[in-house]
Symmetry: C2
Subunit: 237 residues, 2 copies
């Protein structure tokens, strides 16, 4: 459990790498924080399938949060990024395989718990939210349901579907914090009805669904901007 | 076509009544504008079934818009408010009857066109939007589809349902301006699937759906506030 030497600072944001040992696996992570002040809130960023902890849109979000005084943290999911080991992760069979290789739902939960524990030990506990779509919801919904440190979550592009479908459906009912849930109306990967079913399953009454035309990866820019506003506003209060 | 003497001013908002003669019917309306400055935008407010042009939530919206420098206008729908003549309007049969008595879809369109013509003749043409849920969408979707002066619309709580179902479904495909569409997930009056179907039918690509738990009349306050932001932001640009 330690920071590595991969530190860079640009555009008012300091980016620091870290590595965790969890269940004999090495979990690489990254932490973003404003260069010039102490962040008083934290958002965990869950990347999508076949991407990684520093893919463009995740880094853009990290900068957007940092610019509002909110720290951000991401780790590579099982079989992704520095944990990929050359395995393809964009077809469903390979995806299920790497998910299982990562310890399944329990392994994924252990990774994120260790990462949040590490950041809290280093930087202090702060109001914390989750942002994650698609595979970022496969990871984020279970984390949100089981870790009471998560106070609010931006989820979506996921349904009663995929290798942890049963976990997702079961844990959705245990979510009690506010959730905004995004659905792409013409999603060619996760069928719309499966997404609506997962939204239905969410136990919290403080849930709201935003549906937009377009395919899986065509979330409108205004909706991404709105998601940053949503977490910012709630974590401030 | 004239202002009546029902003028009041309070909390920075001037409220003026007016009456129109359309197809031998008298259409009563109300216009709200900031007391201290010229409004540079306009929102048409369509009330819900069994309510009227000055029901609490419509008046609250009119004040919210006025406080942002946006004028608002509402008329009584067919068989509602001062056009009620004692008829019950909250059961589906009576509702369909008063809708037909008002001239059906064409009569309703003529009413709103006359009202907007009157306000533009008196106050000048300005960027204009529509706000209307439930029966406010039964009126507003056809108006939005056929009157190019409407640049943006907040619609919802309505589906492929009700006395002008066929008109709604047909006209939805002709809407080209941005639409935010609200759905109450546990709507006991207009079934959710019928609402999703009407959202699907909307021809514009600039559409976004917001779904929230609760019954027909339980639209969350944050969603109402957000709807004012939505029209305000768009009409400003």
């Amino acid at each position: 459990m330690s920071w590595n030497n991969k530190n860079v600072s640009h555009d008012g944001v300091e980016e620091r790498g870290f590595e965790l040992q969890v269940n004999k696996q090495t979990i690489p992570g990254v932490y973003w924080t404003p260069s010039d002040k102490k962040a008083d809130r934290l958002v965990l960023l869950g990347h999508g399938g076949s991407t990684h902890k520093k893919v463009d849109y995740i880094e853009n979000l990290a900068f957007a949060f940092s610019n509002r005084g909110i720290a951000a943290m991401a780790i590579d999911g099982p079989g992704h990024g520095e944990r990929a080991k050359g395995g393809a992760t964009d077809d469903p069979d390979s995806f299920a395989k790497v998910w299982r290789a990562g310890g399944g739902n329990d392994g994924m939960l252990a990774d994120w718990k260790a990462a949040l524990d590490f950041i809290e030990a280093e930087e202090g506990a702060r109001p914390t939210g989750w942002w994650g779509l698609s595979m970022g919801t496969m990871m984020g919904l279970p984390v949100t349901a089981t870790d009471s440190r998560i106070r609010i979550a931006l989820l979506g592009l996921m349904g009663t579907w995929g290798p942890n479908k049963d976990d997702l459906t079961r844990l959705a009912s245990e979510v009690t914090c506010p959730v905004r849930f995004l659905v792409q109306w013409d999603d060619e990967i996760v069928p719309r009805d499966a997404c609506l079913e997962l939204y239905d399953a969410l136990g919290t009454r403080k849930k709201t669904l935003h549906g937009n035309p377009g395919k899986h990866q065509q979330v409108p820019e205004f909706e991404v901007d709105g998601s940053v506003d949503y977490l910012d506003r709630y974590l401030r209060s």
